[in-house]
């Protein structure tokens, strides 16, 4: 273990740096998000993820946000275990009828102000699963949604972009 830890000390970090240039998507995104999030809620935004019937593809990519390449926490964004600690609900899946009540109760347990981000194509309108007897047809059918992040599944970068887009209007608002 010592060797691995030592190596990590001398090796340059894997985390993709926030470059100064505007076209370096990931880093730029992170820095802007940090500014906007701090304005709105101080230093951090807490995210509670709710799988409402996803195939688990979205969960894989949301989990990836925590790996060394994306390192979500450096932006002040972190995943929390309870909706009572959350500012953002990140909801995936077409919202199955069997998950409807659980999603509603999670939403009610989240204190205001809160945002709901629907992640993945099937969270938008049911996607490929639309029309089934077992799904409600998207997150919007059950709780109010502030933003949709499309993709099947969206990549970690796209999800980060989505979180930024959610905060953009807030940033403008506080500036004006």
């Amino acid at each position: 273990m010592r060797k691995l830890l030592l190596e990590s000390l001398v090796r340059s970090p894997l985390t993709e740096p926030a470059p100064p240039a505007a076209d370096a998507a990931l880093g730029e995104l992170g820095a802007a998000l940090e500014r906007a999030a701090r304005r709105r809620l101080g230093r951090s935004l807490a995210i509670r993820e709710v799988d409402a019937g996803s195939c688990n593809g979205c969960e894989l990519e949301i989990n990836a946000l925590n790996n060394a390449f994306y390192d979500l926490e450096r932006f002040g964004l972190r995943f929390v275990a309870s909706p009572r600690h959350a500012d953002i609900l990140l909801v995936t899946g077409p919202v199955t009828k069997n998950m409807r009540e659980a999603l509603e109760r999670t939403y009610r347990a989240t204190p205001d102000p809160k945002w709901v981000v629907a992640v993945g194509d099937c969270a938008v309108d049911g996607g490929l699963f639309a029309g089934s007897y077992a799904v409600t047809g998207g997150v919007e059918a059950v709780v109010p949604v502030d933003l949709h992040v499309r993709g099947c599944p969206p990549s970690p970068t796209q999800i980060l972009q989505g979180l930024l887009a959610l905060l953009e209007p807030v940033k403008k608002l506080t500036r004006s």
């Binding site: 273990m1 060797k3 691995l4 830890l5 894997l14 993820e49 709710v50 799988d51 409402a52 019937g53 996803s54 195939c55 688990n56 593809g57 979205c58 969960e59 894989l60 990519e61 949301i62 989990n63 990836a64 925590n66 790996n67 060394a68 390449f69 995943f79 275990a81 309870s82 909706p83 899946g93 077409p94 199955t96 009828k97 069997n98 998950m99 409807r100 009540e101 659980a102 999670t106 490929l128 699963f129 029309g131 089934s132 007897y133 077992a134 799904v135 099947c152 599944p153 990549s155």
Partner: protein
């Protein structure tokens, strides 16, 4: 062993590729159930139709598979679960989806149907009734017992399901799972769909097994249509399947250690997983390699850039992984959590026909790539690791050993990749028909059964996730462990909620 032959000679055959399917009467059906109960055959799947029930049987020694079917026009069929418990949840699901009654079923509670669909028996006959009232969990009796309900929304970024623990102090006396929360009705969406649409749906049954499901669906469709994918497509499919296995195993090894509060492994394994996904993105245009495998071949070919990305990935994994294995093996505090925890007894793994690392960590040497087997694995060299301890540690080691094997397989595939087209242009031998396949995903064997109608559309498609035979075993493995070790045990099984709930 002639168990399967006896059954095959006893009914009327129906056209089916690549395995025989025969129609049997009640007596023969029950005889087959007895063969399962006696351990002479393994249950591969049990699924319904409007007026029939099918059961896939495996003669493990010979790698032979057969499907037996029984008519259920009366609305009833003899329960297999009455003598063979692994069929229990499958029959409860048949009851929910088709309104057919398994006669003698020991547990009549609904399984996938939570009473909110607004329709009863959605794939079956009308006139059935949906479940009402509260779900009754199984009782536990004794002094000082308390219950802990967990879920369906869990604390982490994971899928939803409900776990009802009954504990005596810290020790779990009983765990009962309640699943079905992510039931999307995929089999109903399959009915009447075009093949291409069916392939997309199949690739979304369980996101972590996108490739394995698309592969299983394509192979079943090709068997039904009587077409052969080009050799290059067959090899590239195996390449994708091994990359998927690598990504998931890296992720799992890290996540299991993380559930034992050892974050260093999680961080390093997460890096390796991300590298696999990035290489997959370059090579096949999608991080999870979705919608690449089609009936008849592939939607896209692998270019030179993709090959270099994969070669670089393998080199990096070979450079980094051994140190992580050493770290896992040499950290006493971590071993303290994983060794001897969540033991699954070998008899249960055999009885349930548990596939993947769950079965192999408990002594069951079954791998669909070898038996019944499918190309190109007959041309490749690889070993199937097996351990006997059945604990969390053994399930970690099976994954570690399988990573080694998959790295080796990827190298062989890249070296031996045939040239040529990746999509067959041959006309199907028949427009309609039935086909089936058994494909090895990272989690275990995935069964796909498909019937195409005269119009070439899907008449019925059943997809059986390996988790059906692993979830019940988690209940057994956790017994006597402390509640705090449940996440560790659960992650070491890593069953699919979505694949199971469908």
């Amino acid at each position: 062993m002639a168990a399967l032959d006896d059954i095959l000679n006893s009914g009327s055959p129906v056209q089916q590729a690549p395995w025989p399917r025969i129609l049997v009467d009640e007596t023969r059906w029950q005889e087959a159930a007895q063969q399962l109960a006696g351990g002479r055959l393994v249950l591969l799947g049990l699924w319904g139709e409007r007026a029939a029930v099918h059961m896939a049987l495996l003669d493990e020694e010979r790698g032979q598979v057969a499907i037996v079917s029984i008519g259920a026009a009366s609305g009833r069929f003899p329960s297999v679960a009455a003598v063979h418990p692994p069929a229990l949840r499958l029959e409860r699901a048949i009851q929910d989806l088709f309104g057919l009654e398994p006669e003698g079923l020991p547990d009549r509670r609904s399984w996938l149907d939570h009473g909110v669909w607004g329709v009863a028996a959605p794939l079956g006959r009308s006139g059935s009734s949906a479940p009402t009232g509260r779900y009754a969990f199984l009782p536990s009796e004794g002094e000082s017992l308390h219950q802990i309900p967990v879920g369906p929304v869990h604390a982490g970024i994971i899928e939803p399901g409900h776990f009802r623990f009954t504990a005596n102090g810290e020790t779990v006396v009983r765990l009962e799972e309640r699943l079905g929360y992510v039931h999307k009705g995929i089999e109903s969406l399959m009915q009447g769909a075009e093949l291409a649409h069916g392939a997309k749906l199949a690739g979304r049954v369980s996101g972590d097994s996108s490739v394995a499901y698309a592969l299983g669906f394509a192979r079943a469709a090709e068997a039904a249509l009587g077409i052969e994918p080009p050799a290059r497509a067959v090899w590239l499919r195996a390449l994708m399947a091994e990359l998927e296995r690598l990504a998931n195993h890296f992720g799992d090894i890290g996540a299991i250690c993380n559930d034992a509060a050892f974050a260093l492994m999680h961080a390093h394994c997460g890096v390796l997983r991300e590298r696999v996904l990035r290489a997959a993105d370059i090579a096949f245009g999608h991080r999870l390699m979705r919608d690449v495998i089609l009936p008849g071949g592939l939607a896209r070919d692998l270019g030179t850039e993709g090959i270099s990305a994969i070669v670089a990935l393998i080199a990096e994994a070979r450079r980094r992984f051994p140190a992580l294995v050493e770290l896992y093996d040499g950290t006493a505090s971590l071993q303290d959590r994983t060794v001897g925890t969540g033991i699954l007894r070998p008899e249960l793994a055999v009885q349930f026909g548990a596939g993947g690392y769950v079965g192999r960590a408990s002594g069951r040497r079954f791998d669909a790539r070898l038996k019944p087997g499918y190309p190109p694995y007959d041309r490749l060299r690889f070993a199937v690791p097996v351990r006997a301890e059945g604990d969390v540690n053994a399930r970690v080691w099976i994954r570690i050993d399988e990573v080694e094997q998959s790295l080796y397989l990827v190298e062989q595939i890249v070296a031996g990749l045939p040239a040529g087209a990746v999509l067959s242009t041959a006309r199907p031998a028949h427009a309609s028909g039935e086909g089936a396949s058994l494909s090895e995903g990272f989690r275990g064997d995935i069964l796909v059964w498909l019937r195409l109608g005269e119009d070439g559309r899907i008449a019925r498609c059943h997809l059986r996730d390996p988790s059906w035979f692993q979830w019940p075993l988690l209940e057994a493995a956790i017994e006597g462990n402390i509640v705090a070790d449940f996440p560790l045990c659960n992650k070491s099984f890593n069953c699919s909620y979505s694949g199971h709930d469908l």
